[in-house]
């Protein structure tokens, strides 16, 4: 059976915007966070814990983790779309990537809240 070439999934714009928005957010957060680190009285575990006990650091840190995961999802998915041709293998890789990133996000939340 000849399989027709099918295109027209009608998505892509949202991911394209989100990829750029998350990149900008991560760049800004990294800058602000670097300044916060430089402002610490000492580089110790207690100072680090105190920094992360602030609600805003946890909130924006959590947003950073989500941004990183979404950004990575789009980037890695693009690599699978570019280079992996068999649809079954591609779908499997998409699912592995998705669950791996979801797992990382959950792990990051646990670390952030435990601090």
């Amino acid at each position: 059976m000849v399989k027709p070439i099918v295109v027209g999934a009608h998505y892509g714009l949202k991911d394209w915007i989100v990829q750029r928005a998350t990149a900008i957010y991560m760049a800004l957060f990294s800058l602000v966070f670097a300044f916060c680190l430089l402002g610490l009285p000492e580089f110790s575990f207690s100072a680090w814990t105190e920094l992360f006990s602030a609600a805003c650091v946890r909130f924006f840190g959590f947003l950073f983790v989500l941004s990183l995961c979404y950004h990575a999802w789009i980037g890695v998915r693009d690599i699978w779309m570019d280079y992996v041709k068999p649809v079954g293998v591609r779908l499997a890789l998409h699912l592995i990537t998705f669950f791996l990133l979801a797992g990382y996000a959950g792990w990051a939340i646990r670390i952030l809240w435990r601090l």
Partner: protein, 236 residues
């Protein structure tokens, strides 16, 4: 300019005779009036008529003689032979099936071009004489309508190499924007719908190889950016 001898390394493949492609070393003596790469190729063909390549207008208008010259896609008729490092390595355009020597099968390239409906769509009754544009509206088409479909850009694009059946490619997208930007066209929404797809448009990762190689100095990346800009404006 005096007579000089120029060294070439040319990709040869005749599927009727050759098991596999090979590179042939060729030396040719050029006359003072042989300025362009195409002049040299015509001279080589006069000595060995089995060498196959496409050419027609020999002045950068028909887009037939696009090939890979020392690793960069270019038109043989616009490339100064003396500006090239020797031996001059000539290969067919990358990413398309080779028919013979420097001739590639452009079917996939033109399929993508036709998929963007490269003609004005306007069902309104035509006026008595013509559909007029203001000079400003006409200005929008500059840098778009000049595309000669030589395929230098699309065959320099890795996204087109990986997905030539799904990604429209820089040339097709430049031409898509040429009709989107045309104020006489009435199918902007349909055209944007046709392109809003993870493969057809969003395989472009803005590496700008297309801009680097375009022999007409056009900028497909900018056109692609404008299509995305319109999609954002439509959606937000």
């Amino acid at each position: 300019m005096s007579k000089r001898t120029v060294q070439f390394k040319i990709y040869r493949y005749d599927p009727d005779k050759d098991e596999a492609p090979y590179m042939q070393d060729i030396e040719v003596e050029l006359d003072p009036h042989d300025v362009k790469l195409l002049d040299a190729l015509v001279k080589i063909k006069a000595k060995d008529d089995s060498l196959s390549f496409r050419r027609s207008c020999r002045e950068g208008v028909c887009g037939s003689d696009a090939m890979n010259v020392n690793g960069t896609n270019a038109l043989a008729c616009l490339t100064d032979v003396d500006s090239l490092a020797q031996p001059i390595v000539l290969r067919p355009l990358p990413g398309l099936p080779v028919i013979r020597d420097l001739i590639v099968d452009m079917t996939q390239f033109f399929k993508q071009y036709h998929s963007i409906k490269p003609y004005l769509i306007n069902d309104e009754p035509p006026p008595e004489r013509e559909r007029l544009q203001t000079p400003e509206e006409r200005e929008e088409l500059n840098g778009l309508y000049e595309c000669i479909l030589c395929a230098c850009c699309s065959t320099a694009c890795p996204s087109f190499w990986w997905n030539p059946d799904k990604f429209v490619g820089p040339s097709g997208l430049l031409n898509a924007y040429r009709f989107i930007a045309d104020t006489r066209d009435r199918a902007t929404n349909e055209r944007l719908d046709n392109l809003e797809d993870p493969y057809r448009l969003f395989r472009c990762h803005t590496i700008m190889s297309c801009v680097h190689v375009c022999p007409k100095s056009l900028n497909p990346t900018r056109a692609i950016g404008k299509i995305k800009d319109l999609m954002v404006r439509r959606a937000v």
